[in-house]
């Protein structure tokens, strides 16, 4: 599944989208940044409620396919500009992390 297909399937909010054709191969949910870098895989969608600029750097280093801000969290302006500048796919959903992860997991299965 591509990031664009994920957006369409779940009506995700698009904050920044530079690589809509990137393949999504799995998922990870978490807010502790080092935990995410230790456990997330390349190509994952990363669900988090963290909205600061460091999220863009972590997404870049961990090479995730996209970041999904859950619970209706809005990106800080610095995160938004960083994501655009670095080419990080940054999306959002009003759903809880639990609900969103359930629906996304079903899509990937």
């Amino acid at each position: 599944m591509t990031v664009q297909q994920l957006i369409d399937a779940l009506s995700l909010t698009v904050f920044s989208l530079s690589d809509p054709q990137r393949q999504v191969t799995g998922g990870y949910a978490g807010d502790l940044l080092s935990w995410v870098m230790g456990r997330a895989q390349s190509g994952d969608m990363w669900l988090t409620i963290m909205s600061n600029q460091n999220v863009a750097a972590v997404a870049l280093m961990a090479d995730v396919a996209c970041v999904i801000l859950t619970e209706g969290v809005q990106p800080d302006p610095t995160l938004l500009s960083r994501a655009q500048e670095k080419g990080v796919n940054l999306l959002g959903t009003p759903e809880s992390t639990f609900t969103a992860a359930g629906r996304m997991g079903a899509l990937l299965a």
Partner: protein, 141 residues
């Protein structure tokens, strides 16, 4: 490939700007055409090291060397040093303050991540003098 040497200064104190050195290194490794998983390992190690220099040591310098066989990242600071390296290496051990934690850091997973993603990790530290963390990532031939 000739040995390539890159030097990145890391500003202390500014957690919001942290990640610049790692981003730049990642771009350079990409341009060198290294395998994606090797770039990912190096980037995560470098970012964890960069964050540590910012949070724990008021900045420092990262020196990166790339040759045919490996990437060597040396993160050098003149901070407080690490009194108990064995403890610092444990998952979950952290002396990070509330500001770092609010931003999502301080999980005590940085050094363990560097160990996980590198082929060799060396910590050379003296209390009151500073710390040099060196990671080596081998490039499969």
């Amino acid at each position: 490939m000739e040995t390539i040497k890159l030097i990145y200064p890391v500003e202390g104190g500014d957690l919001i700007e942290a990640g610049e050195a790692s981003s730049k290194m990642k771009l350079t490794l990409k341009k060198l055409g290294l395998p994606q998983d090797i770039i990912r390992k190096a980037s995560i190690c470098m970012y964890e090291g960069e964050i540590n220099m910012v949070i724990h040591a008021d900045g420092g310098q990262a020196e990166v060397e790339v040759d045919m066989n490996q990437i060597t990242i040396r993160m050098i600071d003149s901070g407080p040093g690490i009194p108990d390296v064995e403890k610092a290496m444990q998952e979950g051990f952290s002396t990070a303050g509330p500001t770092a934690r609010e931003l999502g850091f301080g999980a005590g997973m940085g050094l363990p991540n560097m160990k996980r993603y590198s082929d060799d990790l060396t910590i050379d530290t003296t209390v009151g003098k500073g710390t040099t963390v060196t990671v080596i990532i081998k490039i499969p031939q």
